[in-house]
Amino acid sequence: MAELNFSNLSKKFDGVPALHEINAQIASGEFVALLGPSGCGKTTLLRLTAGFEHPSSGTIHLGGDKVAGDGHFVPPEERGVGIVFQSYALWPHKSVHANVAYPLEVRRVPRPEREARVAEALALTGLSAFANRMPSQLSGGQRQRVALARCLVFDPRAVLLDEPLANLDLALRASMHEVFSLFHRRTKATMLYVTHDQGEALALADRVAVMEAGKIRQFAAPEVLYREPVDCFVAGFVGDGAVVSAGITGQTRENRLVVNVFGQEVLSRSATTEPSHVCIRPESITLCNDAPIRARVLSCTYLGGRFRLTLDAAGETLVAFASQRAAIGETLGVKLNDLWAFRDPGAAVVMAKSLAHA
């Protein structure tokens, strides 16, 4: 297993920038998700890591070795990096066993050892019974596991996964989450997982890099992304809730910043003394009739066990959870607590973009 290091990494396609000055360190054995809307550059970063693309500038280090950059380029077949494709890319003319054995054949691993390692990889992915099947005779989830076994069998220095669950149905995705988690625990592989599904990223990864327009907006643990987003894009893209502009009061109370939201003073966590916005998660909203902030119910959806309400408060749309059904058009009182305030000067532009992607 090896650590992965991107430094000032940029990539242009025919002069159009796809990645801009990416800097990131991924520790050995870490599970990192690249999360972002389509076209944000996450797949480009993955393909640069695999060696299918050449960087326009900057360097990539893998386990201390420079694999790309400064006139140096290690081709994909010499990087020892495994990749699981969205289309699985199983070779249709080879059986499951032959697909999994191929990386070892290429490495001239002697037959007894090869057979043992293939059997182990098939057992780990629950495919032992399917060794002699052809890929066309497998279901989507089974193909996915063959791709994973093919990757695992040669002990790659890092494993890259390109939207591996995009072609599976919902029920299968949940069970594959467990397969990936198990795979990661057993192999301790450094994993880079590309997805546009925040649920997948937050559930699986140790850390998530949220990308937008060729840049990493925030690179942090899932709970940090959710509770302390750095800007409007991350706040809007990750998790449910609302982002509204906030007025500075210059006061602090009980170690919290006092900010002005909807004309009311509320307490908020913050990393800055001059915030421009607050992020209001559904958990931050308590509905009570005597609260000073008034909101009109726009919609009410039953989620099982609770209701999700969207509310209109002074022209902003908030999201709240309620234990009881609310009538559409009804006016409720909204009490805010445990908000997160941040500063994002370029917010207007970013908000428009994130809405376009929504």
Binding site: D14, H54, A68, P75, E77, A89, L90, W91
Partner: protein
């Protein structure tokens, strides 16, 4: 892969490989055509138009040009009539047994023209064994009716009908079914729908198919040679042949002009059809999902009988006549159960050195051409698909030229190019290698296109997956690309083999004693009056061809769409 910073090693070194493969391919495929153009303009010594004027103003040139235009034009008309009738009936109506019908209609295209001519000659005229068998042969001394412009037109029309059929059927499949349904909803009956909706919409494909038939008929050598030369009716290809065979390489500058003349007429034909097409083009909008199926009702059975009767007349009858002739003991003797003999078969297949040699030469040439083209085309198609650049795109556009130009044009071009190998005193003229070179140039595209089609369908992730697990380029090509492209490559190889085994036009001009091909020997046997042996040899080739076609047909569902020419 076309972005920015160059880097050492890795995929980049592949891009440097490309010119090394493209250059020899371009030289072999396109060099001769360029050489011919130069010869036509310079006449071998300096730029002058005198030489052009001399040849072009000669009366024999004008007559041959006129004959070429008459026979190719008439043949095209007939091809369009036959091909269109079959295409409309097969693609639009509910007749049964379409697959078998189409296969039978394609057989004449794959049978060499000189064999077609030989077979038809055995069906008509005073010495026809078949007619004698039936007791309806015309009296001895009456002329062979096929030795005439009419005979040439008839056979050219039948030979190339399948080209019109294939192009038109492909076009008909593009017509959205809802257009026809809309016409029916407006109250139009089957005939009115065809007349007022289908016919105008399919006119572009009909014109395109007609243009292909015209260009191919123009370059046809086998039929006018077998039927026209005995009647003293010369077309441009036969004129070139007679000049070159009569006088040798000394007349090369002259025949080069004639070859360019055919090439020019062929290109004018293609340009004319393109001009018509561009004015008649329709943007077809809608789904072309379900195939059209107009019901013929009570007319279905008579139509089916009519189509099969036609197939019987153009395919089965001539081949039966050919078979009958191959079984008689001496020419002119009627065939009976008592005197039927396989003597001629034994003679051509086992005894005669010249026919055995021809079999050997043709099989060797066809196998070598198929094998060499296979070996070059696979990596080349891969490079052109995965590492496309301007050079490869230019080659891609021009590679059709040697196949599209009439064969006689390419032959002259090859003689000019290889008569004196550049920078040496060596010559390939008179050796079998010049035929091989010509075959390589001519059939390149037949091999390249199916492989290109299957590599284009290959998910690049298949190769990237192999690269990521450590396979170098050579291994990726061998373990991943080759097995997946193999069915199409095999189909391409069989097609090259089939076409090369049948080939007469190119080898008729390039052969010399010892390097005869099957096409040449059939022609020479018939020319010297050995009709029975010619028939036996021809019949054995027909059986070989039908066997090979059947082989391709059997693997049909393993090939990507468009690989098999008779299944568009």
């Amino acid at each position: 892969m076309n972005a920015s910073t160059p880097a050492r090693g890795g995929g980049r070194s592949l891009d440097r490989l490309l010119p090394f493969l493209l250059l020899p391919v371009a030289l072999i495929a396109l060099g001769p055509v360029v050489r011919l153009l130069l010869e036509g303009v310079t006449g071998g010594d300096g730029f002058t138009t005198d030489h052009l004027t001399t040849v072009l103003t000669r009366p024999s040139t004008g007559t041959a040009l006129l004959h070429s235009l008459i026979t190719a034009g008439g043949g095209t008309l007939l091809s369009v009539l036959i091909g269109a009738a079959f295409a409309y009936l097969v693609a639009l109506t509910d007749i049964r047994g379409k697959g078998a019908l189409v296969f039978c209609l394609m057989v004449p295209m794959m049978i060499p023209p000189q064999i077609t001519a030989l077979a038809w000659m055995q069906m008509a005229g005073p010495s026809s064994t078949l007619l004698k068998l039936l007791g309806i042969a015309p009296p001895l001394g009456s002329p062979q009716p096929l030795h005439s412009p009419g005979g040439i037109i008839l056979l050219l029309g039948i030979q190339h009908a399948s080209l019109v059929f294939l192009t038109l059927r492909a076009g008909l499949r593009m017509i959205p079914a809802d257009l026809v349904e809309a016409a029916r909803m407006s109250g139009a009956g089957s005939f009115r729908v065809w007349m007022q909706t289908v016919l105008p919409l399919s006119m572009p494909s009909l014109i395109a198919g007609g243009a292909m038939a015209f260009v191919t008929a123009l370059g046809n050598f086998g039929i006018p040679a077998m039927l026209g030369i005995p009647a003293g009716y010369a077309t441009l290809p036969t004129l070139i042949y007679q000049r070159l065979v009569g006088m040798g390489p000394a007349v090369l500058p002259e025949v080069a002009v004639l070859a360019l003349l055919i090439g020019a007429v062929a290109i004018i034909g293609v340009l004319f059809s393109r001009a018509v097409l561009s004015r008649r083009g329709f943007g077809l909008v809608g789904l072309s999902g379900n195939p059209l199926a107009l019901t013929l009702g009570a007319a279905r059975r008579p139509v089916e009988i009519g189509l099969w009767a036609f197939i019987f007349v153009i395919l089965a009858l001539p081949l039966l006549a050919l078979l009958a002739t191959s079984l008689i003991p001496a020419y002119g003797v009627p065939l009976t159960f008592a005197n039927a003999t396989l003597e001629a078969w034994k003679e051509v297949l086992f005894t005669q050195p010249v026919t055995r040699r021809a079999y050997g030469n043709s099989l060797m040439l066809a196998t070598s051409a198929a094998a060499i083209l296979l070996a070059i085309s696979l990596p080349l198609a891969w490079l052109m698909e995965r590492r496309s650049n301007r050079l490869s795109r230019i080659l891609d556009a021009l590679i059709d030229l040697p196949y599209a130009l009439p064969g006689v044009v390419l032959s002259i071009a090859c003689i000019l190019t290889f008569l004196n190998l550049p920078f040496t005193d060596l010559t390939l003229y008179g050796t079998i290698w010049i035929i091989l070179m010509a075959y390589l140039a001519r059939f390149f595209v037949v091999m390249l296109r199916p492989i290109q089609a299957s590599i284009a369908q290959l998910d690049p992730a298949m190769e990237e997956a192999a690269a990521s697990v450590g396979a170098h380029l050579g291994r990726r090509l061998r373990d991943i690309v080759l097995p997946l492209a193999a069915p199409s490559a095999a189909a391409g190889a069989i097609l090259v083999f089939l076409t090369a085994v049948n080939e007469l036009t190119v080898s008729a001009l390039l052969w010399s004693s010892g390097t005869e091909t099957l096409g040449v020997v059939i022609y020479n046997l018939e020319d010297s009056g050995e009709t029975i042996m010619a028939s036996a040899l021809a019949m054995s080739i027909v059986l070989l061809i039908i066997f090979l076609m059947g082989l391709v047909q059997a693997g049909a569902n393993r090939f990507p769409k468009g690989v098999i020419p008779w299944q568009s």
